[in-house]
Amino acid sequence: MSIKINNLKKSFNDNIIFNGLNIQFNDNEISCILGPSGVGKTTLFNILTKIDSYDSGTITGTEKKRIAYVFQEDRLLEWKNVYENIAFVIADEKDVKRRAEEAIHMVRLTGYEHYYPKELSGGMRQRVSLARAFVYDPHILILDEPFKGLDIALKEDIIEDFTTQWKKGKYTVLMSTHDIEEAIILAQRIFILSKKPAVLKTEIDVSKLNDVEIRNIIREHLEEA
């Protein structure tokens, strides 16, 4: 069942974020949301994960689903080491050690298992947060600018591993980013939101267009936004 958002309305006091947003994310696809800063991408993710409430509208397709969320900030437990931070979210499940080690390997942090967050760089901390999401084995994975602050080579490696892993299990991924190239490499579908209150400007099916065409559409719409 895809995630359907119908006529979503949300405001913070006088600040109207959504005034009837309609959007649908397909199951087992990587959907990328592009839009200017402050358009409401994070608010949308917070609503989907029930961190924020919404004023009216309907959301279907997230009920009883395991949702993992990679926040813009890493939100690690400072008193737990890398391994413990990752194992923390699956501590009461099976095969904790193997799964945690796999996730650590995927984000290229093997050898750092016993390091504490304060001993890691910003990029490494973000990778721990990514590994914590991967290990959770989610039905829906939400990534809010997940590769921000990673250097290009590392980003490419992690994206490659992530795509391989995603192809094996196939789950729904919603990702926000500012990086057009990142969106083109990863996404099957790109959504562009325009500014305030946010509406869906356009939706691009990546498989039906070539990279140049996609880039042009994105630039055109982002400039308008």
Partner: protein, 259 residues
């Protein structure tokens, strides 16, 4: 530079302490009535004499036990109630009036009430507990409220079990608050316990000794016992603070060991 500053401040502390002792000694000389103000020498002499008697150690031992029991009880209950109050607002609203009243009630009112309610032996423990529990409760409640909301959101998204959230998020967040409130309550616990002993006069107690010294106009004994209480309170506080420091440093060392 820093080491020499610390050294200088230690020398200064010592000089100023000597200065106040000198003032005491001078005042005693001028008054020259030991019943009103015994000299430093007479006080120390009285303390040495007391130190030769077994009953002194019995008194010290039992008073120490009462302080431990009172502070210990308030730690256990203060942490428990503080956590519940931080986690559940109705519990906070339920307990807040009681804690506020306890905080602003003079210690002597509780002692007099306790004299009516209970056996003399348990009064000092009860009073010490009453004086310390609001301090620990307030700190722990605040610690729980101050726990990083973003970490709690992360736990709720990943559906981490509540018991694990308490153990791995709330307790580590509140640890610092617990330590500082324990350190703060020790001094107060001592004062409250001894005050309660003076009025309740359990058979074996330092406070009882103080009362007797007053009755028999042995002011030098009263001063000596007060000095003993001050010294014991310092030692007690020093040991506990060091222990708590080691406890937090120990975690730090483990961090490095695990590397």
């Amino acid at each position: 530079m820093r080491i020499s500053t610390i050294k200088n401040s230690k020398i200064q502390n010592f000089i100023f302490m000597l200065f106040w002792l000198l003032i005491w000694e001078l005042a005693a000389k001028i008054i020259s009535i030991p019943v009103i103000l015994p000299s430093v020498e007479q006080t120390i002499q009285a303390l040495i004499t007391m130190g030769k008697q077994l009953s002194f150690y019995q008194n010290v031992g039992l008073t120490l036990f009462r302080v431990f029991a009172g502070v210990g009880l308030s730690i256990v209950l203060g942490i428990l109630l503080g956590m519940l109050s931080g986690l559940y607002a109705p519990v906070y609203r339920f307990l807040n009036p009681v804690m506020s009243v306890i905080k602003s009630t003079p210690v002597v009112s509780f002692i007099i009430l306790a004299l009516v309610w209970m056996k003399t032996d348990s009064i000092p423990i009860f009073v010490c507990f009453l004086m310390c529990v609001p301090i620990i409760w307030t700190n722990v409640t605040q610690g729980i409220i101050d726990t990083d909301k973003k970490l709690l959101q992360m736990c709720s998204i990943y559906k981490v079990k509540y018991i694990r959230v308490i153990k791995d998020v709330y307790i580590p967040s509140v640890r610092g608050y617990i330590f500082s409130s324990i350190a703060a309550s020790i001094g107060i616990g001592w004062k409250a316990t001894v005050a309660a002993e003076v009025l309740a006069r359990p058979e074996i107690s330092m406070g009882g000794g103080m009362y007797n010294a007053k009755i028999y106009l042995q002011t030098e004994n009263l001063f000596a016992l007060t000095l003993a209480v001050i010294i014991l309170s310092f030692i007690f506080e020093y040991i506990i603070k060091n222990f708590l420091n080691k406890l937090s440093k120990g975690r730090q060392i483990n961090v490095n060991k695990n590397k």
